[in-house]
Subunit: 267 residues, 2 copies
């Protein structure tokens, strides 16, 4: 059970291939083999070699490809699975996570009814209020890491549950990756918006950061959500990221929380 002498060489080779500043660098930047494999898998996901919903090669196949033991690719896949980028199914294979599946339709929407089952009033109704193309304002530019003057798509919509308007959202998307996205396509698409992004624009939202505040409804917001002006609303500002931590969406949501609440588990 000796570690074969080539193993060490292989690690070094991979390392130098990824860090590039190896010898005289101040930080040797050691990263274990499985992290490097994780990076290679991530690249294949990012490039679209394996698309959402599809299965990736089996562990033994990847081990052969990367010239590494099965245990090492297993650990790499374990990490990606724990980040919800991959989905393991025993006996079947490992699959690229997707927003298109029914069960994870609303993974990023944490507003749930106070009582009763999720979706007991049926699916949400989506109403596009407006959708236009503009130059990004400074705060949008900063949030999406754009250059000043870059074009963005802006949409405003209302989500209703059981006929009751509940969520008002303003959404900003960088125009370049979403070329061809129109109000019609947004309006006609049945299902989660992030599923549309995956299938049509090869953009998969992987994680998001949210800043939550309590605010008073403006007159315009009050009218759209059918509450009194000044009524308390939950303000949820979300920046969503693709693979490699690229910000790809800014969303400002205003939630009515009289019969629903934002649910969070902290540990």
């Amino acid at each position: 059970m000796q570690t074969p002498p080539e193993a060490k060489t292989r690690v070094r080779a991979l390392q130098s291939a990824m860090t590039s500043a190896n010898q005289a660098g101040a930080a040797p930047a050691f990263s274990p083999l499985y992290q490097q494999i994780r990076g290679l898998i991530l690249n294949s996901l990012r490039s679209g070699e394996w698309k959402p919903g599809e299965s990736i090669p089996s562990e033994v196949e990847l081990a052969t490809r990367y010239r590494v033991s099965q245990g090492t690719v297993r650990k790499a896949i374990d990490e990606l699975a724990s980040e919800n980028l991959l989905l393991r199914r025993q006996g079947k294979g490992t699959f690229v996570a997707t927003h298109a599946e029914q069960q994870v339709q609303f993974r990023f929407l944490k507003l749930v009814p106070d009582a009763g089952t999720q979706g007991s009033e049926g699916p949400a109704q989506r109403t596009i209020i407006e959708c236009r193309r503009t130059r990004a304002s400074t705060d949008v530019t900063r949030a999406l890491a754009l250059r000043s003057g870059d074009q963005v798509l802006q949409a405003r919509r209302v989500l209703s549950f059981g006929g009751a308007p509940t969520i008002l959202e303003d959404i900003w998307l960088p125009a370049l990756p979403f070329k061809g996205l129109t109000a019609e396509r947004l309006a006609n698409y049945q299902g989660a918006m992030y599923a549309l992004f995956e299938t049509e624009f090869n953009v998969r939202m992987v994680r998001a950061e949210e800043k939550i505040r309590a605010v008073a409804a403006s007159p315009a917001q009050a009218q759209l959500l059918e509450v009194a002006p000044g009524a308390p609303l939950l303000s949820v500002e979300r920046v969503a990221y693709t693979y490699q931590d690229e910000p790809m969406e800014l969303r400002r949501g205003y939630y009515r929380t009289d019969t629903r609440h934002y649910r969070n588990d902290v540990s």
Copy 2:
């Protein structure tokens, strides 16, 4: 590299020791060895054999104790570490997580300043408004899984940052596990409340569920938080759990979010 014949026997023995209904049960309830080891470690944590801040035995020692390979206890510890119950420190050992350390002082408080660094105004000032012992109301009874008529401790306090009152909290604790907790001890204790619970009452909060809403400030709340009545406040209802999913605290917080926000990462 044969799996020794005793290994299978050992697994079965452990299994029957934990599931008790083994043979004729409808569900065989197979659970892997490392999950069983995880349970045994959890028991030792729960019983106080290893206390918060202390180190647990080394991996090889535990492997010997449980008559299992090091890799198996490693996987068990990995899970507990990912749940923030244990903390691994290379070269030093594995430690029981604690709320008493500076770095994790506010792990459960997700309200952060809009700009600047956390804690730039120095530590929070804690002001106990009242602290009394009563019979639990029905909703408190339900949240803490008590029997009707059980005693609870109730406290109300205000947290201020840099002199500005920011958080108003009502806290309910079951009286039994917290026997001897008085307003003085709460008021005099410097540091996170959960650290006090650990050292004085052997109660470690492990995870929590929060329900978040936007509400209008009542006159009483408005006065304590120095806002106008009806001003929007973030309502955060938290149920905190010890080991083994026992609810141990109900906390209703009202947060001012004019210069701070509730930060959440969703993935």
